[in-house]
Structures are given as C-alpha cells and as structure tokens.
Symmetry: C2
Subunit: 420 residues, 2 copies
C-alpha cells in the first residue's frame, strides 16, 4: 500500500471500536484495531456465562474474524501503555510504537469499588470473560462445599449469595442465581437443599433499576421477591471481606459476593493528560474529540458527553455504537477534506433488563413491556444483536433447551483452588 | 437410611467410575462418588477443545447431574490424600475421612514425560479441560504474536507447532492444527500467512497409530502429509525447552510443543502400597481386586490387567466402562452373599481415530474403514457416546456448521499472560 494512506488507530474492540472500524470500511485509510483481548465480548450476556447458562465462546467472537473481510483493517493483540500526542504515536507493549493520523480510544470501563480496591478479591465484578468464569466457579464451588460441610452456620454462609448493585447487571445476576438454586440444582444434591439458599440483592438507592419508570422497578422487585430473592434497597455496603459484607443495616455472612455497583473508566484520560469526570471519563468536545487534540476521539464508556437535554449519555452498547459510527464517518469526511459541523447526537432507543425465566422489563420510548412479552422481546433483541450467525443459533437453541428442561449446560468448575 | 447399608466408595468419575456407579443403581448400597473435578470429561473430544472447535462445556457434564436420578448415589468434590486399608477408610482433603465397605479406584492416568518432568511447562499434555484451554491459548497466541513479530526467524518459530507422539491424540491434534492454520485462520491475518505454518508430528516408533493395521497407518501418514503435516517417525525427543525441542534428528525451533507421547497412572498404587507396573498401574487380580484386599478394586487407566490372549487391556474408554460395569455387578453379587468366580473378560470392540475434515480410520473387528465413510462413522460414534442430549445436539450442530463454513467457534484466548 502507498505510504500516504492515512493511518487510523482504534484502541478497543468493544461495541464502540468495532462500529468505528466498520464505518471506515470503504475508506482509503489503513485501520489498525488494537485490543488486549483476541475477542469482542458481548457484555449484555456475560451474566449468563457467570451463571452457567452459556459458554464463554457463545458470547465472544475473535475480533480478527469479525473484521476478516474488511481488507483495510489490521487487528493486533497488544496492550496500550501510553500516548505521545505530540508525535502522534501510540505506545504498546507487544506491538511497539504505532504512529497514527487519527486515534480513536474506545477502551471501555471496569467495575469500581469507590476507592475500596481491597474489596476486589472478595467481591468480583463482571466485565470480562475471565470475570464470568471466576464468578461461575465461586457460585458452583459454594454449593459443592456446602454439600461437604458439616457445620450448619458454615453451610448457611456457603449458601448465601450477595449481589451488590441494583442496576441491570445486579438484577439479572440475582434472578439467574435464584433460578440456579431453585431449579437447576434442586435435585442434584443429597445433603443440602439448594432451594434453601439465601440470595440477597443490595441497592444503595431507594429502588432497583433507577433508570426505568418506577412502576417497572416495582414489578422487578415483586418478581425477584417471588423468585426467592431478598431485595434490600437503601442499603450501603460499608466493608467486604472473605466471609461476607457489612452494611449500614448489619452484617451478612456470605461465601459469594458479586459486585455490580459501579464502574470506572479506562485510563484513557491519564494517557492523554486530559480532564476527566469523577468516574474517570474523558470530557470531550461535541464532535467527540479531545479538547486540544482534534485528531484524537474518545467514545463509549470511557467518554463523558451529554445529550441534547444535558443528560450524560449512558454507558450502554447502543450509545457506544452510535459514537463509533459518528467518529468513523467524521474521519472519512475529514480525510476527504470536508469540514464537519454536526455534533454527535445521542438517540436513546430504550433500555431492557431480564429478571429470569419468562420475566423482563422493557422501556422503548413510550413502549413499556413486562412479564413474558417483555422476556420474549428481550430474548429476540439479544439474539439479534449477537455477532455471528453461529452464536445466534447456539444461544437460541440453548435458551430454548434450558427453558424446557430448567437446565444450564455450562456448569463447569475450571481451575478450582487446590484442595477446596 | 439405616446404618447397615453397605458403603461403596468410588473414586474418580471418568468412564470407569461412572459405569461402576451406574451398575450399582438398583442395589441397596450407599454409593459415594468422589472426584476432584465437578465434571465428567469426555476425553476423546478434548482435542477439539484444544483446537477451538468445541467449548469446554460441550465435552464436560456435571457429575452430580449425571447421577441426579440415582438416589443411592452421593457425589462429593474432594481430593483423595490416602487410604487406610486396615481401617477401611479413605482420606480426603475437603471431605475428611470416608469409611467404606467396598472401594473402587478409577483414578485414571496423566501424561508422562518419561522421567523428564522439567519438560512439562514447555510441552503441555491433554488430559483435563484446563489442559485443553491452555493448549488452545498457546496455539492462538502463537498466531497473534507472529502477526506482531518483525523478525523472520521469530515468526517462523511462532508458526511452528510440534506434536510429540503418533498415537490417536497426536494424530488428531496434528490434523486439527493443520485445519486451523490452513483453513480457519487463512483469511484472518494481514502480515502473516497462517498457511505457511509448520506442523510437525514426531513419533519415536516406525509408524503412526501402532495399534492399527499397517495399511491404515500408511493411509493416516499420507492424509496428514497432504494436509501439510510433516510426519517424522523413528524420531525421539531428547530435550524440551521454551523455544523448541531437540531430537535425535536435530533441533526444531517451535513456540508450541504439545505432548501426546505417554501416560502414567494415578498414584493409586502408592495409596495402596501395592505392586505397580512400569507405567504406575496397579497389578490386579482377575476379578480386578487388589492382591490382599478383596474389598478394593482398581479399574480403568490406572489398572494393569491382561486379556485372554495375555495382552494388556488398553487404556481406552470402552475398557474402563467394561471394568466399571464388571466391578459394579461383582459388588452387587458379593453384597447378596454370592460368590463370583467369573474373571473380568475384556472385549475389544475396536479403535478409531480421526485425521481431520472428512478423514478418519476405523478398525472394528474385521471392519476397516477410512476416508469419508470412516469420518462419518467416527462422528456418529462420538456423538452417540457423549453424555447428555443437549451436548449431542450442540456438538452435532457445531460439527455440521464448521464442516460447511471451515470455521471454529471457540477461538477464545482466556487468561492471556500479561503483556504477551
């Protein structure tokens, strides 16, 4: 290829990064997509890996396979270590220094413990495939240990599952664990009754799913409670340790604590020495460029930008996709020498969350769905947005099968601790 | 349950242990099945996990789920630490001491480096799910690193894959890696051509698959060679290190070395202070009991016993199943106070191995199959013997899909080394 093709470097192959790369498909740019993983992970279904319903490969797809037919895109598996914005060079570990003309940072977010990083080993969050298999291992091992335990208190602690955070991930995890305990495992043990498990969902605010209308929050609470989940709103976790959590409403002994309470952005702001908001997101211009760096754009969960109404654009997949598409088209226009004056406009399509078997809540504009219809809508939407025809088939088949049998096919404990 | 029900303890839930438990299904015994994993692993398809065709959960199934409807069986996840044959007690880590009336040891085998355990980190074998995901990671990371590498020699080393051992596992791994390099990944890279990979299968003896008839060995060699595998028979590995292997025919630089050359039995003989053969297998009586311990039976890969013709019973799934069934029935008879004089009789059904897409060899009695027909037979046999209807569906669908698309759906690098 001639040397004068503009170089676009995209860091992160989540929803935002992939959309940006795909928007540049027909451009004359040389595109390099860099990710520290080899796969794009479909995060909305990660909780199903964590609860043994799906296999990791069902919700992940190799990045280079997604982009295989886009001949102007090269995928490199490497970790970013810094950016030299003056020299327009990205520093990476394995792939060395990579020069760019346009840089897109789509590096996402990690879970955050609000300054209490010491809690991380006791309360894993759910962002990557490895997090999901780790949580799956904790949940399944808790039941295995309870079957062996002879002490009643210890058994009770092992069969107590605390989920911190009442957003979509927390609600979905709580609903799924209730199904695992109440149905999937019900007949598999001899000494314990998995149905006697305690599943406790803790939310600091006054209601679950605060971004949904209050009547849907109420519905979610009622449905979860009927499924055997104890919902504790207005409850703050004040400490986490190996044996449970302390809250402002008292101590809960639990072998498994799952963190779904907050996220913090990737270190993009630090690489750029740019201004960030409290969650670490880079404050960007209306065209998603970094102030002072018109050739660097930040998109997705690591970007802080407000919509037309002044509300912060939420950290969800559709927002990241819209930003990626906008930036890809913007770079195409700039390369063609066109000025772009249209700012990024976020279009909020809606939100959805599932509570478990046959129950979900959906809010799309004026459309509000719940119950079985909501669940059908949720299932179809997630299958539609999954990448790869093969994954769609496998996931659809698995859900259908599990729906009929109450089973979960990926009840695998891998890399168990020595002598559990 | 009354205290006087006989206690049967079965260690290991592979093909042998599960068969023994199932043969005791209608007995009055209290059966305890102990395994350090929570899952039964279908080892014949493990190489497909290692080469990204199947997900771990497709070839593994929770032991307690398999035995869920057998009400007299309890499953405990724990590791055996020793046996007190005088007091008839099994020592375990997590589950403490477990008394038994009858003990069945079905603890299998691990790969063996013939005294060179130092080679293990450089040349992983393939026995457990974790081994398979580890090998999958090595193979996929080698391609990722080659795409990044700038040095030609380093690229060549990264794209060289050595498989040590020309038995069924070695042949299957070599054929599958040839497909990954030649078809699956062919269009996914920009800087390297995966089709230029070197796949080298090393066998110390004069021919591949020595237990098959020579004409099938020749066919396998020809087919592998056509698929791009370099087959080196009469070649011994003399050393393994991080950068490749030394052989009596010279040095091979390779980033990925896979060990399929030999197995050693579990430590059952040490627990029992019993006589073992060179591979560590317990030498047992014709009724599979341990000399001096009529209440302890050893079955499967960890047992050394000869068939009617004086030939050692091979370490394959059907042999383990037959032994498990025999011992289960023997214990039922003993519990009923009947003497059993019929020794174990191994019935050799046959052997089969696949070389890859549309090619396999089958030897069943006088029946010899090869090529596409052999491959169909191989596929149907493996789907038939898989545990769980769900797994059968998923695996059949996956094979059909991959057959049509040349793809592999589980190309997932999990837990990559930091800064690869």
């Amino acid at each position: 290829m001639p040397m004068d093709r503009p170089k676009v470097v995209i860091v992160g192959a989540g929803f935002g990064g992939l959309s940006a790369a795909q928007a540049l498909r027909r451009s004359d740019a040389d595109i390099t997509v860099i990710d520290r993983q080899n796969h794009h992970c479909f995060q909305p279904l990660l909780y199903q890996v964590a609860t043994a319903a799906l296999s990791p490969a069902d919700v992940a797809w190799p990045i280079r396979h997604i982009l295989r037919s886009q001949r102007n895109a090269t995928v490199l598996m490497a970790e970013v270590t810094g950016i030299d914005a003056e020299k327009k060079v990205l520093h990476t570990g394995a792939a060395g220094d990579i020069p760019y003309d346009y840089l897109v940072l789509a590096t996402g977010a990690m879970h955050s413990y609000f300054g209490h990083d010491a809690w991380a080993p006791f309360a894993p969050g759910l962002k990557r495939i490895e997090d999901a298999t780790r949580i799956r291992r904790s949940i399944l091992i808790a039941f295995e240990r309870a079957e062996i335990a002879t002490d009643r208190d210890e058994q009770r602690r092992l069969l107590t599952f605390v989920i911190v955070g009442g957003g979509a991930t927390g609600v979905e995890m709580a609903g799924a664990i209730a199904e695992v305990a109440g149905q999937t495992l019900a007949a598999d043990f001899r000494r314990i009754d998995p149905r006697s498990s305690h599943i406790i969902l803790i939310e600091a605010g006054p209601r679950l799913l605060p971004s949904f209308p209050p009547e849907l929050s109420d519905y979610v609470r009622t449905t979860l409670t009927q499924a055997g989940v104890e919902v504790k709103t207005d409850t703050m976790v004040t400490a986490c340790d190996a044996n449970g959590v302390d809250t402002n409403a008292g101590r809960i002994d639990a072998a498994t604590v799952i963190w779904a309470a907050g996220v913090t952005a990737s270190p993009a702001a630090q690489w750029l020495h740019a201004e960030a908001d409290r969650a670490g997101r880079v404050k960007i211009n209306p065209d998603l460029s970094v102030p002072g760096h018109p050739d660097i754009h930040v998109i997705g969960d690591t970007a802080a930008i407000s919509d037309a109404a002044g509300k912060l654009v939420p950290g969800i997949a559709p927002a990241a996709k819209q930003m990626g598409h906008y930036v890809g088209k913007l770079i195409v226009a700039r390369m063609a020498g066109r000025r772009v004056d249209t700012p990024f406009r976020y279009m909020h399509l809606g939100e959805l969350a599932t509570i478990g078997r046959r129950a979900a809540v959906v809010k799309f504009g004026r459309l509000e769905l719940r119950g079985f219809i909501g669940w059908l809508f949720w299932s179809l939407a997630h299958i539609y947005f999954l990448i790869g025809l093969r994954n769609r088939f496998i996931v659809a088949f698995t859900w259908f099968w599990d729906y009929l049998t109450f089973q979960r096919g990926a009840r695998l404990i891998t890399n168990p601790p020595r002598e559990m």
